[in-house]
Symmetry: C2
């Protein structure tokens, strides 16, 4: 879709030259799970877009024009008056869902179901905070792993209670896409932790079934990176020299 | 509307006996700004509700039935199947706005405007983090005040840019209500800080004009507490003995 080079833009690099084609511009970092949320919605709704990758350690000077706090993801809407930019993965996801019909809405139309799904997505936050010390430190404490698993249990309980293959029901939907990016990253732990860590197949039985199912989704496949690539990136972070461009290197 | 006693329920206190009248139940703490957000929506949309206050230092054992993480605000919907409970102030606000027509919607109907308003509400977070050390420590550092004012400047810039009396336009709307609770608390600083602190009337000219205007709103008046009451509560927190019930005492 675009001739923008496959690399992360850094401090000192000029703005990419983009065609004035009115097509949505998507600013992200290739390993950022919040950015992947937006990319999943873009793919699921087949929304044309240009991808621009941002180096988060050394952000290009021009990036705050699109995201005042320098955060990814951001989208810019060059087809609209003033070429507005939006930030915050969930805000962008809902905007795209409202604005582009695609093959149907990803958010539930019922206000109560929608509120409950938004609360469930927010409840991933403790698991995310708990998994960071596991993913991004070289030798995480056993406590860190226990905290992570306890926080994740909410999702095993919820998918079991809902009794459907996806959190959204019989078809994949917003909760599935908004939590997926972290589940794509967990298998990298078997490469980065000494004991080839895996989620307990009994304790997380239904959640792991869900994971295998979601991994087959077309939009998920389009955005996925191999667990070994994730592990390779994590190692560059462990060494305090994050290399975002390993995403584009062969395994 | 309700005969529930005007006090915060504590550990060891039994569940309040509520009539089976199907009326929405609103769980909050009287000084909690996030709870006030929900209360403002309840008032603005004239939604009948019972108020139940929760002591956040010593939460009653039964409270996790309504809010799994023990947080306020929460609402419970006894009129619906399963009597579902919802948490997270913004999620509740949007649910109430979708579900109760009232005198018109508080959230913008245009998806772009709605996304931009949600982003602006999220941008209050840095000001909130920055103001906590000022509000709730006895002798805040001058740096803390500077950080707070810098974070607040986003709102002076934005109201000036929008050029309307309210963030929502000619009429009060969701951004106004969602950020108001913190602006109600700032004037308490003149009672808790040694130098009778006030926001700079030149630097925050339009924001202060907005504050005076919002203070006249009927729903705001119904939910407000006097700056001296806020200061009284802050002093109980400074002493590490938060007394939530000072909200119901005379000045």
């Amino acid at each position: 879709m675009s001739s923008i080079p496959l690399k992360h833009f850094k401090k000192g690099t000029p703005k990419p030259e983009l065609p004035e084609d009115g097509i949505l511009r998507f600013y992200s970092m290739r390993f950022c799970p919040y950015s992947q949320r937006v990319r999943l919605v873009l793919e699921a709704k087949k929304i044309p877009h240009h991808k621009i990758y941002i180096d988060l350690s050394e952000k290009p000077e021009w990036y705050t024009d699109f995201s005042p706090l320098g955060k990814v993801p951001a989208i810019q809407l060059p087809g609209l008056k003033g070429q507005p930019a939006l930030v915050e993965s969930l805000v962008i996801a809902e905007y795209l869902d409202d604005q582009y019909p695609g093959e149907g809405p990803l958010f539930p139309k019922d206000p109560l179901q929608k509120a409950q799904d938004r609360i469930l997505i927010e409840r991933l936050a403790p698991a995310v905070s708990a998994v960071y010390p596991v993913l991004f430190t070289k030798n995480p404490s056993p406590d860190a792993l226990t905290n992570f698993e306890n926080a994740l249990e909410v999702f095993e309980v919820e998918i079991t209670k809902r009794g459907t293959p996806y959190f959204a029901g019989q078809k994949i939907g917003i909760v599935d896409y908004m939590i997926w990016p972290w589940f794509e990253r967990f298998p990298a732990l078997k490469y980065t932790l000494p004991e080839k860590y895996e989620l307990d197949s009994k304790r997380f039985k239904n959640l792991l079934k869900w994971r295998d199912l979601v991994a087959q989704d077309e939009s998920v496949k389009k955005t996925e990176l191999d667990a070994q690539i994730h592990a390779k990136f994590m190692r560059t972070r462990h060494a305090n020299e994050p290399n975002y461009d390993v995403a584009f290197e062969p395994l």
